[in-house]
């Protein structure tokens, strides 16, 4: 589904990704772990098409297409979803309206028929159960006045409605209490399917207690330095990142 080869990227003058390789197949859940500053969020940004990140080398193939050639909205329509680490507020735009507009924009782009307001309400009602919300949440402005946990749940709700093929969740677990973490994990598990894949970017093993990954990767200094099965996450939990992170040599280091 996703094949990243020798990906190099920079923000401004600073190179963050130094030749990253990763392959994710349909039906798989991959976890990318690593310390702060290892380039995890930058990777998520590159995949979603954020313009402040400049790709300098390498390639990304997604469902047979050159992902890097697509505008962000085209990537979204092709089923790529990014769950944001810090979801933004859009005051005055009702959550429900935002979601329907998003869904219909994607459907239009794919040449599918748009969903009318009544049908959409039925879809939304169903998906709301997943995050254990009542309807009052979807009438509020997008993330307007939401707590950190509510914002993350809203990302899961959006993912559930949009039904993406590849979901990249950037530190979806940070700042969540245990109940919220469960809701988020249930949301991910409910969507697992043979034709879908997940890329979980996280600091901690905690989320992986609830969402069992197929593959775990350790990222450090802009590269994947180790890959393994779920047991790798447990190992990291014990030993910390110290053993995996190379000395701060070369790129990114101070002179």
């Amino acid at each position: 589904m996703l094949r990243i080869q020798n990906l190099k990227a920079r923000i401004g003058e600073k190179e963050i990704l130094h030749g990253l390789d990763l392959t994710v197949n349909a039906g798989e859940v991959h976890a990318i772990m690593g310390p702060n500053g290892s380039g995890k969020s930058t990777l998520a940004s590159v995949l979603a098409g954020r313009e402040n990140v400049e790709v300098t080398a390498g390639s990304v193939t997604y469902l047979g297409q050159d992902l890097l050639a697509l505008a962000p909205e085209k990537r979204a329509a092709a089923g790529l979803f990014l769950g944001f680490q810090y979801p933004v507020e859009i005051p005055g735009v009702a959550n429900l309206y935002f979601l329907r507009t998003a869904l219909n924009a994607m459907r239009r782009a794919r040449g599918e028929e748009e969903v009318d307001a009544m049908d959409f309400l039925a879809i939304a009602k169903e998906k709301l159960k997943l995050v254990k919300w009542d309807q009052s949440f979807v009438q509020r402005g997008v993330n307007e006045g939401f707590s950190g946990g509510e914002k993350k749940k809203n990302e899961i709700l959006q993912m559930a409605v949009l039904e993406p093929k590849l979901s990249i969740l950037d530190e979806i677990d940070s700042g969540l209490d245990i109940d919220a973490l469960r809701v988020v994990a249930d949301g991910v598990n409910a969507l697992r399917a043979p034709d879908r894949a997940f890329l979980l970017v996280t600091h901690y093993q905690r989320l992986l207690d609830y969402v069992k990954p197929d593959r775990v990767h350790v990222m450090a200094a802009g590269k994947i330095v180790k890959s393994g099965g779920p047991e790798l996450a447990l190992e990291l939990e014990k030993t910390g990142y110290a053993g995996w992170v190379p000395e701060r040599h070369g790129a990114g280091a101070r002179p």
Partner: protein
């Protein structure tokens, strides 16, 4: 991009820029007593009205154009303007079906069919073309309830007593430079009277269209809501695209007698000029309401058009317990300039006012909110709440806020809140990640910003206003 393609793109944004070919009855350019007498004669006006015009003209000659607004333009040559232009009627109209087909076509193109059976909505329309009312729909149905609605000229003929009593009672002939000019030369406009205790059975609406070249548009609207009555009034406007600026100096007077309620909504979409600031309408308008005891007046405006907007719909809260509201969205894109706001003059006891102003600036647009809240010394227990928010798109535009607060009664409560924000890259990226195009994302963010005001508009108008906001911002990002 080639010049042609660029032109096509900029012109696409303004859909109403066409010109209609109708024979016009025009006065020569220039302003003098003779022109004023000519206008009055053409309209067959009673003596009191001619005297009123001439008095206004003499006063205007002594006045100077205001310079305090945060707008910049080259001086207007008042002698090069045509002050009277009317589509020449082929014959006296017996009914709406006899309106000149060219005019009917023009209004149909604007989405305002004049034939009643074609209208799906419950809205009576007075269509004003180059300062002259050409048709009013649903007159008969309104008359059943005693509601008078139609052109100002007709009202002068059929209800001179109402005109004489209320004309200038809220905006006196010599009120300000542009109001005085209007008082001298106004050619038509709309008039509405809602009798005591009547709830107007449908929305009343006037659609203003400028067509002729080099003409000024000076219409006058007077709405009188008698005791305990209720009316909702809508106003829309468009103009052809021309390279020169055209002056629009209208006056709107609202009279809300005790216990009456007037809701006045405007979607202003005059031609804004091109991206370089060539052409466009100078929209210098005086709008004011007087509210008597327990009366309520609500102004809602969505201002997307005009090269320059100079406009402060105001409320004189004369009677005790009267209420004034002002909800505004003003958008300035490209080289547009807007200096707009309101005045809330609290005279009566326990008078209340609310001001919600949303300014959107994009391109090189300059947007100023200017508002006065005055609490008089007898206005015991008066309250005001003002909220002024500005949204910036890009880094070449400007937002300015000039609040004036004068309080002469110690029991008054006045609150003022103001915010300025910018459409952040983060917001745009978030929307695009959810499949929205850049333009749709901007439109959605802006509409969210303006929602508090848009929800005050009647349903159909709100939908149109939303689309207009999106359209007016096309190409403003990226």
């Amino acid at each position: 991009m080639s010049q042609d393609a660029l032109r096509e793109l900029t012109e696409q944004k303004y859909k109403y820029g066409f010109v209609t070919d109708v024979e016009a009855d025009q006065a020569p350019p220039g302003l003098n007593e003779e022109i004023i007498r000519l206008i009055s004669r053409k309209k067959g006006e009673p003596q009191f009205l001619l005297d009123w015009r001439l008095k206004a003209y003499k006063h205007w000659l002594t006045m100077e154009e205001p310079r305090w607004a945060y707008v910049h333009y080259r001086p207007i040559d008042y002698q090069s303007i045509v002050y009277y232009s009317a589509p020449r009627p082929k014959k006296q109209l017996g009914s709406i079906d006899e309106v000149d087909p060219e005019l009917r076509k023009a209004f149909e193109k604007l989405g305002i069919p004049l034939a009643e059976q074609q209208r799906i909505s419950n809205v009576a329309v007075d269509a004003v073309f180059d300062s002259v009312s050409v048709a009013t729909t649903y007159k008969a149905k309104l008359a059943e309830k005693g509601v008078i609605f139609g052109s100002f000229s007709e009202a002068v003929q059929h209800h001179p007593e109402l005109i004489e009593r209320f004309l200038g009672s809220v905006v006196p002939a010599g009120d300000n430079f542009f109001a005085a000019l209007n008082s001298a030369v106004f050619s038509d406009g709309s008039f509405a009277y809602i009798p005591k205790g009547v709830r107007c059975p449908m929305e009343l609406s006037t659609y203003f269209r400028i067509n002729a070249e080099n003409t000024g548009q000076f219409e006058r609207t007077l709405i009188v809501a008698d005791e305990g009555s209720h009316v909702s009034y809508l106003e829309g406007c468009t103009a052809p695209m021309r390279d020169e600026n055209q002056l629009h100096a209208a006056v709107v007077e609202l009279v809300a007698l005790p216990g009456a309620e007037i809701k006045y909504s405007t979607v202003q979409n005059w031609y804004p000029g091109d991206a370089e600031g060539r052409g466009g309408i100078f929209n210098f308008v005086t709008k004011r309401a007087k509210a008597m005891e327990r009366a309520k007046v609500s102004w809602t405006q969505v201002e997307t058009g005009s090269a320059i907007t100079w406009k402060y719909p105001s409320c004189i809260l004369q009677g005790d317990d009267s209420v004034g509201e002002f909800y505004s969205v003003a958008l300035a894109n490209n080289r547009q300039q807007a200096d707009t706001g309101t005045k809330m003059i609290h005279v009566g006891k326990r008078t209340r006012s609310t001001i919600v102003s949303k300014g959107i600036s994009a391109g090189h647009g300059q947007n100023a909110y200017r508002g006065l809240v005055r609490i008089g010394k007898n206005a015991t227990g008066a309250r005001n709440y003002s909220q002024c928010d500005s949204l910036l798109i890009g880094d070449q535009c400007g937002a300015h806020t000039f609040p004036y607060i004068e309080v002469k009664n110690p029991t008054a409560k006045v609150e003022h809140e103001a915010t300025t924000s910018r459409i952040a890259e983060d917001q745009l990226f978030y929307c695009r990640q959810r499949g929205l195009s850049q333009e749709d994302a901007v439109s959605m963010i802006v509409n969210g910003f303006a929602r508090q005001v848009l929800k005050e508009l009647p349903m159909e108008f709100a939908v149109e206003a939303q689309k207009l906001l999106g359209m007016s911002l096309e190409g403003s990002v990226g």
